[in-house]
Amino acid sequence: MKWTAKDVDMYEQTKEYVDTALIPCIPIGGTNMKAFAEMSEHVSLIANEVERQFKGRVMLFPPLTYFVHEQVQSRVREWTNMFKTFGFQHICFLTSHADVSDETFIYIPSLPLEHVDESYKQKIVRQQVEQVMDALVTKWTLKN
């Protein structure tokens, strides 16, 4: 489900089934802007695809956006606690920003896909989507 009026309506009725919050993390930097823009695009692409596959159990929230020099870890902790109070059991942060990726994040390296062939691009994206989906499924099975 996505953070839209229509999907939230659905969420309200099926709360007990939706226990996972997915939050893409998007850094903004003043230098090397293009790399950060690529990360942003890439994370959004993967997050949307994961949401499509796991629509019934995952709520995709708007991204956590931060400046590169900010201490994002403390905000991630804050967000995690907030989502826990909402009733989400699994809170996943998705990032392409290698500098912040520790075990609290699911890290997917962003690739310069601009000039890549469409079919090859789909293959790479699908692999990464599967990687994220596996990570989620592992989380779910560990809990049960």
């Binding site: 659905m10 796991f54 629509k55 159990r57 779910w140």
Partner: protein, 169 residues
Amino acid sequence: MSEKKHRVSRRQFLNYTLTGVGGFMAAGILSPMVRFALDPILKEETGQDMVAVAQVKDITTEPQRFDFKVKVKDAWYESEEPRSAWVFKDENGDIVALSPICTHLGCTVNWNGDKNNPNRFFCPCHYGLYEKDGTNVPNTPPTSPLHRYEYEIKDGTLYLGKAKPRGEA
């Protein structure tokens, strides 16, 4: 004598011309407005076009996943949306194209996704199960079978249309 009877007075002449010209102007203004108001009714329903998905020779009795894209028009914004289908031939040799969208809450189901339930479709979100023909397995979350795509075969290529609940497609 008859000429006299049919004589048009200045007042009448002006009346006729003014009503005539006024009528034309009113029609000129109103007809586009009426056309606008009726437009949604007159527009023929744009059913989703059939999309080429796979070659018939590639289809086996084992369900395979095919990904394709459909054009979606939301108001004036056109975009391409990814879709998938599980396609196989049933025992009569007929092609079956199932929508992978779980009828429970809309996750994507996988063929043979669960080791304990071979030859079934499995939904990883809430462990829903479907038989090969798309029938939901009782006592799992889904309450209705997987939807089926309308399909068409032209020159050895499989085209898929809309996914519809079983019984309608």
